[in-house]
Structures are given as structure tokens and as C-alpha cells.
């Protein structure tokens, strides 16, 4: 059964897939497709159905020319989900629940595009029991992703992202990295370097309650779920401004980093909208 929160979107990939399997993305494999690849003489490629009459007439050597096409192939799709404790933050919806919706939507979309899908969850390391290898088994993916609902582990960091590249395919794939990106910038950079063989789509989960909808006045004891440390903040207008400023700066830093790795972030706040992802691909990943 397809869960209600799985909302498919459309996506393209800007590179040629090296897969041999028939799919929906442009591939480098010669075969039955729509992408014109070139001409060959009938002797070299005896496919009478694709004789190119116009080219044959224009050939000074009077060889019979045949059109060649590229086959459409599959591409591996990965959803890498941050399961560190900071994802337990709850504004209106828990971040991990939004991540769950996004992961299920990716699985569903990959299924509709007949692509291979793999789900990888990590915190301090990759969580094997919440990880599936590349497959077409969409329902298995749904079942696994559903398990995130009950995932509530605290005091655990996001260092495991550095292990994730080992779980990715050897061919270039599309990697959705779902995280709040609340981790040291050098860790993100290291991860991007390790995954540079792939096209990464960072999906940044920032809740408005983290910086825009802060308490107006009073004392708040902020506990970091990953380290257990706490800091007391006396909320007032000046602090709220500082918070927003901090997030603006953080966004700039992240975007500068993403730009260096030739990618753009997709920001999701308290609600996931599948159309936003479709628009994202039209905007940044079209041919």
C-alpha cells in the first residue's frame, strides 16, 4: 500500500546514465530510444528499419546510411536521511517525520520513473537496519521508511554521513541528502567531497520555530539533543533578531559551499510540497 504522505514529483538528471537497463533517463547506451546519436553505414549497422534516406542521398560515397539512437536508461536514486538527534526537533511537525514524507515521496517518484531506489539512514554511523540497497521494491522501501515514525534516539550525532559514500553505487546517481545540516561545515564539505561522483540534492529542513517563530519574552533552557548540553536564553526582541541573523549567515555559508560543489539546496520548512521538488528540477537540473 502506498502511504498517503508519499507524494510523487518529476525529476530529470542532467547527465547521461551509464546504466544498461531501460528506463526514463538519457543514457550513453546505443539502442531503441529517441535521442539521435549519429549515422553509420548499413554495412556497419545492419538495421534496415532505420535507414536514413536523406543522409543516404547526400553521401558522396553513395553508402546507405542508418540512423543511430541512444537508449533511455535507469539511474540510481538515493535518499540519504539524517537520523541524528537534532532531527527530533519539533516545531509543528517533527523534522524526522518530514524527512520520512520526503523519503517516501522520493521512493514513489523513483518507482514511477522505473528507477532504482535505495534508502540510507545514518546517525553516528550508517544504520544498517534502516538501510535498503538499490532495488525496485518500492513497498519494501515504504515499510522501511515508515519505521522512522518510531525512531526517537537521543544523544547521537550525525558523523555517520562520512560512511554513507560506501553505500552509494559506482555509477553516478542522484543523491537526496535530507538533513537539517546542523553540523560543522567541514563535515559537510568532507561528505560532499566523498560523494563527488554523484549529483547531490541537499534538502535542508529548517523549521520556522527554530528562528522566526521564537518565544517573544521569557527564559528558555535550550537543550541540544545531540550533546545534552544546555544554554539558557533570555528571549526578547534583540535575541530574536540575532537568531534570524545567525540563520541568514548560516544559509549564506551553506549556499557558498553548495555552489562550490555545483548544486543548489532545496529548503523545506514545516510542510513538504512535492511540487516544490518538481520546480527545483525544472529550475536547476533541466537539460
Amino acid at each position: 500500500m502506498i502511504p498517503a504522505y508519499a507524494k510523487p514529483f518529476t525529476y530529470q538528471i542532467p547527465w547521461k546514465s551509464s546504466s544498461v537497463h531501460s528506463g526514463d533517463h538519457r543514457g550513453s547506451q546505443r539502442g531503441l530510444g529517441f535521442e539521435y546519436r549519429g549515422n553509420l553505414s548499413l554495412v556497419d549497422h545492419p538495421d534496415v528499419r532505420r535507414i536514413d534516406l536523406r543522409q543516404t542521398l547526400r553521401d558522396p560515397y553513395e553508402q546507405i546510411q542508418v540512423k543511430l539512437f541512444n537508449q533511455d536508461n535507469t539511474t540510481p536514486i538515493f535518499a540519504v536521511c539524517d537520523c541524528s538527534s537534532s532531527m527530533q526537533f519539533k516545531g509543528r511537525t517533527r523534522k524526522l517525520d518530514i524527512a520520512k514524507e520526503i523519503a517516501a515521496s522520493i521512493a514513489y517518484s523513483a518507482f514511477e520513473m522505473s528507477d532504482l531506489f535505495s534508502f540510507i539512514a545514518y546517525n553516528e554511523q550508517v544504520i544498517e537496519e534502516l538501510t535498503l540497497p538499490l532495488s525496485h521494491h518500492v513497498h519494501q522501501s515504504f515499510e522501511l521508511i515508515e519505521q522512522l515514525t518510531n525512531y526517537q534516539k537521543l544523544r547521537i550525532s550525525a558523523e555517520g554521513i562520512l560512511e554513507v559514500p560506501q553505500y552509494l553505487s559506482q555509477h553516478k546517481g542522484l543523491v537526496f541528502w535530507i538533513s537539517d545540516f546542523h553540523m560543522p561545515i567541514h563535515l559537510i564539505e568532507q561528505a560532499f567531497n566523498a560523494m563527488s561522483a554523484h549529483q547531490i540534492v541537499p534538502i535542508v529542513l529548517w523549521d520556522e520555530h527554530e528562528y522566526k517563530k521564537l518565544p517573544k519574552f521569557g527564559f528558555g533552557n535550550m537543550i541540544d539533543p545531540e550533546t545534552g548540553l544546555s544554554r539558557s536564553i533570555f528571549f526578547r526582541e534583540a535575541v530574536r533578531v540575532q537568531f534570524e541573523q545567525a540563520f541568514v549567515e548560516r544559509k549564506q555559508t551553506l549556499e557558498a559551499l553548495f555552489a562550490r560543489f555545483d548544486t543548489q539546496a532545496l529548503y523545506v520548512s514545516d510542510r513538504f510540497d512535492a511540487d516544490a521538488v518538481s520546480h527545483y528540477f525544472e529550475e536547476y537540473m533541466s537539460l
Binding site: F89, H182, I223, P225, G228, F234, F243
Partner: protein
């Protein structure tokens, strides 16, 4: 400054609790490093922790109850150390003898005694007085003290009615013991107020003789005479085997080598004049010391921690629980 319970200071490390323990009450916030550094918040947090620590500290100190040094004040007064020995027998609730043919009941003896003794006390603010009541046995009223209120209360208690017995011996011996624990001021007197007399056993007589002469106590006996009672000042002579109790007792007191005077009051006026006489006789300079206890600091500490507690409560109410 002394501590009554110094071992409570062992709890002092508890004051560090707010700095030791991390608070688990609060909100989960995804990432601490992104929270802007805010000096005011840090100061407020530190102040709050300090306030809690100081509250705990002052409570512990209050438990240790520090006391200021007690001081002794030397007081010099004119007067005497007097013990009232008051008869509480039922007959004290009868009217005075007065003139039996006046056709009008006189004042109740105990009420008059209370009124006049109270006035006597008030007129001598520097005196130290004690009170003993007695019926069939003595009743400790009040030690010899300068606390006027206490003496008044003791007099009130001692002039109430009790059972119908008059054991003068018990009263006097009890009164004598009151002089044991205080320094002599030179002028010491026992005022026995009774409305009758009883027989004293030879043993009691011996004790009283020893004690009165040994402690150099002046002795005044005010007899509140009932109608038809024999006056102790009567000229009549009685045969040895049928001497009335009162006269025998008077003779016994006269036989002791002390300053002794007996009065016979058959109305409030004569009682008052008897007291006035005693008042004029007992006017030596007396010196005594009063112990003033040191200041109890635990009260201040508790009030201080209460004020701090109110502030902590205000802090707590300013806390954000969700947003």
C-alpha cells in the same frame, strides 16, 4: 557568634548543586552552536544559579542556627528579694472578718490579697519576687525573678481556690528553697499570707529553723483573720495542751533568731498597711545581673532565603515552556 548545630555545615557542598547539575528541564533545540551569544542571557542565567545557591546556603546556615554572643547586664535596684507564700485554701474565698455586726459582707480575702499584692509589686519595680502557693502541699508558682508579668500571672494563679487544707510547713519550706539558686542581695524576705494556721511537725519545725536562720531570711506573717477566729495578739493565756494553732505557730516563729513580724488583717485596709510596713522595711540596695540572649541569626537568614525564593519564583514564571 556560635553555631548551635555546627554539623549542619556538612551540608554546605549542596550549595554547588545549581552549578554541578545540568538542567533537563527545557526545550529541545536542534543545534546549540547556532544560538547567538547573548551576554544578558548568560548574566541572567548566572544570577539565577547564584540566587539558588545563596538560597540553599542561607537555609543551611539557618539550620546551623548561628547565635550572637549573649550579654550580661548588671542592674542595680532598691528593694528586696521577696517570696510570697500564699494560702490557697477554700477559706481564702470567704470574706474578711471585718466587723461582724456591720450587716454587710466584706471583700473576699483572696481577691483583696490579689489586688493588694499586685499593687505592692507594681510599686516596687526593682524587686525580685517569687511566688509559692500552698494548700495540703506546696505549689511552685514562680522563681525569684524581676519579670513583672510573670509575677503577676503567678499571683493570679496562686490566689485561685483549691482544697480545704492549710499546710504552712510545706509552703514555707518550698519558699525557702527558692533562695537556693540566686545570689543574696542582702535583703531577703518571705511573706506568708494565710488565713489560719496548722500544726507543724517537729521535723518540719527543725528544717524551717535551720533554713530561715541559715539564709538570714526576714519573715513576715500576715494573718487574714476570719470572723470568730482567735487573734494571735490575744492577751489570754492558754494551758500548754490546748494552745490554739495560730498562737503556737506565732510563738514558734518568734523563737527563731530572725527578723520576724506578724500582722493580723481583718479587712483590706489593714492588709494594705501591713504590706506598706514591709515595703518600708525592705529597702536595701540590690545588685543583680540579667542575661540577655544573643541575636538569633537564623530568623534573618530564613527571611532572606524567602525573599530570594520569591525572586526565583518570578524567574520560573518567566520561563518559556513551548512556543
Amino acid at each position: 557568634m556560635t553555631l548551635l548545630h555546627p554539623w549542619v555545615l556538612l551540608l554546605l557542598p549542596l550549595t554547588l548543586i545549581p552549578f554541578w547539575f545540568k538542567s533537563h528541564q527545557g526545550q529541545i533545540y536542534s543545534w546549540l552552536p547556532i544560538i547567538p551569544v547573548d551576554r544578558l542571557s548568560d548574566i541572567a542565567n548566572y544570577v539565577l544559579k547564584t540566587m539558588i545557591a545563596v538560597t540553599i546556603l542561607s537555609l543551611i546556615l539557618a539550620l546551623a542556627s548561628p547565635q550572637g554572643a549573649s550579654t550580661k547586664v548588671l542592674k542595680v535596684g532598691k528593694g528586696a528579694q521577696t517570696v510570697f507564700v500564699i494560702d490557697r485554701s477554700v477559706s481564702m474565698d470567704h470574706p474578711f472578718a471585718g466587723q461582724s455586726n456591720s450587716g454587710r459582707a466584706a471583700e473576699i480575702k483572696s481577691a483583696a490579697a490579689r489586688r493588694l499584692i499586685t499593687r505592692f509589686i507594681d510599686s516596687r519595680p526593682d524587686d525580685m519576687m517569687g511566688v509559692v502557693g500552698f494548700t495540703n502541699s506546696s505549689l511552685y508558682g514562680m522563681k525569684i525573678t524581676t519579670n513583672i508579668d510573670a509575677i503577676h500571672s503567678a499571683i493570679n494563679a496562686a490566689t485561685g481556690p483549691a482544697i480545704n487544707q492549710t499546710n504552712i510547713g510545706a509552703g514555707v519550706t518550698q519558699a525557702v528553697t527558692l533562695f537556693d539558686d540566686i545570689q543574696s542581695s542582702g535583703s531577703r524576705a518571705i511573706i506568708l499570707l494565710s488565713d489560719g494556721a496548722g500544726k507543724l511537725s517537729p521535723r518540719v519545725k527543725r528544717t524551717i529553723t535551720e533554713e530561715l536562720s541559715g539564709k538570714k531570711l526576714n519573715f513576715y506573717w500576715i494573718v487574714l483573720r476570719e470572723p470568730d477566729d482567735i487573734s494571735i495578739f490575744t492577751k489570754q493565756t492558754y494551758p500548754d495542751d490546748s494552745v490554739p494553732d495560730a498562737i503556737a505557730l506565732d510563738k514558734f516563729f518568734k523563737s527563731i533568731k530572725i527578723k520576724y513580724k506578724a500582722f493580723e488583717a481583718d479587712n483590706p485596709a489593714t492588709l494594705q498597711s501591713a504590706l506598706q510596713y514591709i515595703d518600708s522595711k525592705e529597702k536595701n540596695i540590690i545588685q543583680y545581673s540579667v542575661n540577655i540572649p544573643g541575636h538569633d541569626y537564623s530568623r534573618d537568614l530564613i527571611i532572606f532565603s524567602l525573599i530570594l525564593g520569591v525572586f526565583i519564583l518570578i524567574f520560573k514564571n518567566l520561563k518559556v515552556y513551548s512556543w
